[in-house]
């Protein structure tokens, strides 16, 4: 039996690869709008690590208080979204305000680089080997 055959959409020259920069919100389907409000948002990745910097102030909203309790130890935005049962975009809105108020700090992820960090790749391999 022969498997079906993939047809390349760009058979000759692949288009230039996209830059590895994180945070640009690409929107290939303009019909779709992401949930949450559209204000200026901090540049947060799914795996940006969030750590609490302060106790909840009296003015904290319930969401902020819940979030601060969760990230007394570092926690990714994805995990915050999961534990709070809030969409990722909503969590980034809440965090944007909390970053501005210096209630939390954010640690950027290590992203794919044009010149790959070999020691990073080796560290990940070593970590996986221990599994």
């Amino acid at each position: 039996m022969t498997p079906p055959q993939r047809q390349r959409r760009y058979p000759s020259q692949p288009p230039a690869p996209e830059p590895a920069a994180v945070g640009e919100r690409r929107n290939p389907e303009r019909m779709f709008v992401v949930g949450g409000d559209g204000g200026d948002r901090a540049n947060l990745d799914l795996v940006t690590l969030i750590v609490a910097r302060a106790d909840p102030p009296p003015s904290a909203t319930p969401e902020q208080t819940a979030l601060l309790r969760l990230c007394t130890a570092p926690l990714s935005v994805a995990e915050l979204s999961a534990y709070l049962s809030l969409p990722f975009s909503v969590v980034t809105v809440v965090l944007t305000q909390m970053l501005a108020d210096e209630l939390v700090e954010a640690h950027k992820p290590l992203v794919r680089q044009s010149v790959a960090d070999r020691s990073l790749l080796e560290a990940v391999m070593h970590g996986l080997q221990k599994l």
């Binding site: 692949p14 290939p28 949930g35 534990y83 990722f88």
Partner: protein
């Protein structure tokens, strides 16, 4: 969810809390068509019980059932499972099981652009559902390996036949995998890491 009493918010179990020494995270995307084993793979290697992050998107009802004026909108919730592996006391790896349709990918900032690389899970009973994903990753310059899930009733093709059918460059690894087994899933991730490393050595990483 009721946030008034935040004591009731579920959080990580004590053993799932990351140490304070953790400074940064990396991510790998596991992508594939419906029911191909993404969640299974995430779960088999994750140190935490897999979690789910959701995003809602609204689709403007342009021309669809437009009986009530132009305000009709359909909301779709897209869910993504993920897991976590501690690499060192400073570094943690996250794995995301991502739906194959590209129109969902933009919901999460930098999901592919920032990932170290991707594992494309394929089911040889439905090879064609992977064609689009592979093309999209190529276009975006996301390095990937292909993992063939061993479903019992699936046709088995020689690797070179698969490579030809998927029109993959000779250097792209194709491995067999049983996503239900931790060792097999880990080996698949190792194959991706070795491939990324070889790209880094030859300076071929885009």
């Amino acid at each position: 969810m009721d946030f008034k009493n935040s004591d009731t918010i579920p959080g990580p179990r004590t053993e799932d809390r990351l140490p304070q020494t953790v400074q940064a995270a990396v991510k790998i995307v596991i992508v594939g068509g419906f029911g191909v084993g993404k969640t299974t793979m995430v779960g088999s290697v994750s140190e935490i019980k897999p979690l789910t992050t959701e995003e809602t998107m609204t689709q403007a009802g342009i021309g669809i059932d437009d009986n009530f004026g132009s305000d009709t909108k359909t909301a779709t919730t897209v869910a993504m499972d993920f897991g976590r592996i501690s690499i060192t006391e400073k570094l943690v790896l996250y794995l995301f099981g991502t739906p194959g349709q590209e129109r969902f990918w933009f919901l999460w900032n930098g999901l592919f652009e920032g990932a170290l690389g991707a594992v494309v899970l394929i089911d040889t009973r439905r090879l064609e559902v992977s064609f689009d994903v592979i093309g999209r990753l190529e276009e975006r310059g996301v390095p990937f390996v292909v993992a063939v899930n061993s479903f019992p009733d699936a046709p088995r093709y020689p690797v070179e036949e698969l490579r030809q059918a998927l029109d993959l460059a000779p250097e792209i690894p194709i491995v067999e995998c049983d996503a239900r087994r931790r060792a097999s899933s880990r080996d698949t991730l190792m194959t991706l890491m070795r491939f990324l490393h070889s790209l880094a050595m030859t300076g071929a990483l885009t």
